[in-house]
């Protein structure tokens, strides 16, 4: 047998692993279980029921917040993916040069700047803009979400591009394809899995956002997460659990779909 450092054999490994998994999954499991509680309590099990799901489905505020979340995520993920794809093309289709690392850092800014800082900054800027323009619609949220989704859309597209042989584009040009045809027929189809992955990642990240949304939204612009946050400050009923459970199911669905699409096309 080869002798190598096997972390699994170290004392404490099993304990740490178990504690970690318990911390990760137990609270979620409890949340999901109590979504099906008959009673109003989050602590006492009073039998199985779907009443809180029904309540959530009949709650107009929930439906509106959910719809708003989906609209914002759809627009933001689309814009972010377009911007990220262009950025990825620009930063990989070039020789390494001084300042390129700086550009990567610029593009990935939202990953490094604390979200609360961006949130406060946007709040200040947008409140001015609202005064000037008089516009106070969903545009601000879409814009803010687009910005912080860009790095998430950028990373998979760039990874895909970096694995793509540049000679393929040369070969297309050599075979009489104009730059646009080369992009349409060669680059884009080969990039597609990266673009789909980037879009889905951006979509989920946008759906999930609380901090920036909370600061940027105007009155009556709750998304599902900020709506839930608002509810928690008042009476807590398993309705929140039911909403969270649906939300979880949606996220898992998207991420799973993304995983399969990616594997198929790889």
């Amino acid at each position: 047998m080869a002798r190598y450092f096997d972390v699994k054999r170290q004392t404490g490994f099993a304990t740490i692993a178990i504690v970690t998994f318990v911390l990760l999954y137990l609270p979620i499991a409890i949340l999901v279980i109590y979504a099906f509680n008959e009673g109003e309590s989050l602590a006492n099990w009073e039998g199985f029921s779907l009443r809180w799901f029904v309540a959530a489905a009949n709650n107009d505020a929930v439906k509106q917040a959910a719809w708003r979340s989906l609209v914002i995520a759809a627009f933001a993920a689309t814009f972010a993916t377009i911007a990220a794809t262009m950025a990825a093309l620009a930063t990989t289709r070039t020789r390494r040069y001084r300042g390129l690392t700086f550009k990567y850092a610029m593009i990935n800014q939202p990953l490094m700047v604390p979200e609360i800082v961006t949130a406060v900054a946007l709040l200040i800027v947008f409140s001015q803009v609202k005064v000037w323009t008089g516009y106070s619609g969903l545009g601000y949220l879409i814009l803010a979400h687009t910005a912080f989704c860009i790095p998430f859309a950028y990373l998979p597209v760039r990874a895909r591009l970096e694995n793509m042989d540049l000679a393929l584009e040369s070969a297309a040009a050599d075979l009489y394809a104009t730059p646009w045809k080369t992009f349409r027929r060669i680059t884009l189809p080969l990039l597609q899995p990266g673009i789909v992955a980037g879009f889905m990642l951006a979509f989920v990240i946008s759906l999930d956002d609380v901090v920036i949304t909370e600061f940027v939204k105007s009155g009556g612009q709750d998304t599902l997460p900020t709506y839930m946050l608002g509810q928690l400050r008042r009476v807590i009923t398993p309705e929140v659990n039911a909403i969270a459970t649906l939300f979880l199911a949606l996220s898992v669905l998207i991420v799973t779909a993304f995983f399969f699409i990616n594997r198929q096309k790889a």
Binding site: D165, A167, L168, S170, A171, A172, A173, D174, L175, Y176, A177, T178, P179, K181, R185, I186, P189, L190
Partner: protein, 368 residues
């Protein structure tokens, strides 16, 4: 100085005129090609041969249009194409990495160029079928390109580049990724393809044997310059420069002084004693101290005195031939290669003094 429009009585397909290519600027500037001029005839199998980094790929990329020359002109059928983008040049490339489109089938790869040219559907299908037949790949038409072997990928790359019937086909070390046996097969295949299609092939290799066996003419390159252009025989028998002689085959060098020049031949008094007559390349007038080259198989070892004399240092048997390593009287080494036969036994052994006959027209004066 305009180049002649014909090479060996054939029309010129591609011509590079005083091409220089500099990468980078300032202290990082790198002169990848330095005032290169060469004409390549229609229907010619032309090879660029040289060590790694000498600029072979750069010259191909300039012809294909992936790079633009720093100075000079590239003429295709007499027209300057130096500023045309690659997709407007009737030139196709077989890439070293093949660069087959992974999301397309074999047949779709082959049809790509024809589609981009906007050929009618029926014509494309007929042409693709014809190319696949030429490559003996009919069964693989609908395979994905990651489901075929290296040799097959090579053939698809060739079919894809030949399908639009380019004026010139560029091949950048297309065989270097193949194993020895497949390589030999593909060498023959490429020759056959070139003969059948009549397309000008510009072939890049750093394998001298490949260059000699496949080419109509070879250009030997070093450090961004073309040192010599000629038929494989020319290049081998009459290397113009030490680099060419060294790069191709084994070589003996003889130092001497020119005594006189007459009718394309120089009389040279050798440093080791003896006189021989040597040829020299056009355009030079040998004088003073010169170096001659003699290929080992163009000399013969004999008993007694001859053009040269020396002591046998080693005799190495190779099956088809024997290498006799000698030390000449001036201290330089000289190797003779002699064909073996069943009953001939060498009449001398290590340590014996022997004579060496340099064949008629075996010695060549090097430039510089």
């Amino acid at each position: 100085m305009p180049e002649p429009l014909r090479v060996n009585e054939r029309r010129v397909a591609v011509e590079a005129r005083n091409i220089s290519k500099v990468f980078g600027t300032g202290e990082h500037a790198l002169r990848a090609l330095d005032d290169v001029s060469v004409g390549i005839a229609e229907n010619e199998f032309f090879t660029l041969l040289g060590p790694s980094g000498c600029g072979k790929t750069t010259l191909l990329r300039l012809i294909a249009g992936f790079e633009f020359p720093t100075s000079g002109a590239i003429l295709l059928g007499g027209e300057d194409i130096a500023t045309l983008p690659p997709y407007k040049r009737p030139v196709n490339t077989v890439f070293q990495s093949y660069a087959l489109f992974p999301h397309l089938t074999v047949a779709q790869n082959v049809s790509f160029g024809l589609e981009m040219l906007g050929k009618p559907r029926g014509e494309i299908e007929a042409r693709v079928a014809e190319m696949l037949k030429l490559m003996r790949m009919e069964q693989l038409a609908n395979r994905r390109t990651d489901q075929i072997s290296g040799g097959q990928a090579q053939r698809v790359a060739l079919a894809r580049a030949l399908a639009p019937a380019p004026k010139v086909l560029l091949l950048d070390e297309p065989l270097s990724a193949l194993d020895y046996k497949l390589r030999k097969e593909m060498q023959l295949e490429l020759k056959r393809m070139q003969a059948e299609t009549g397309i000008t092939f510009i072939f890049v290799t750093h394998d001298q044997e490949e260059a000699l066996t496949m080419s109509d003419r070879v250009a030997v390159m070093s450090a961004g310059k073309i040192l010599q252009v000629g038929s494989p025989r020319d290049i081998y028998d009459r290397p113009a420069e030490r680099f060419v002689a060294d790069f191709i085959g084994e070589t003996n060098y003889l130092a001497g002084t020119v005594q006189g020049v007459d009718g394309g031949r120089a009389e040279v008094l050798l440093k080791t004693g003896g006189r021989i007559s040597a040829s020299y390349s056009e355009g030079m007038t040998p004088s003073g101290e010169v170096t001659l080259v003699v290929r080992p198989e163009h000399a013969r070892a004999v008993e007694g005195a001859a053009d040269l004399s020396g002591a046998v240092e080693d005799i190495v048997y190779f099956g088809t031939d024997t290498h006799i390593h000698t030390r000449l009287d001036d201290g330089s080494a000289f190797t003779v290669r002699q064909q073996n036969s069943r009953n001939a036994v060498l009449p001398f052994a290590r340590g014996d003094r022997i004579g060496i006959v340099v064949g008629d027209d075996a010695a060549q004066v090097l430039r510089d």
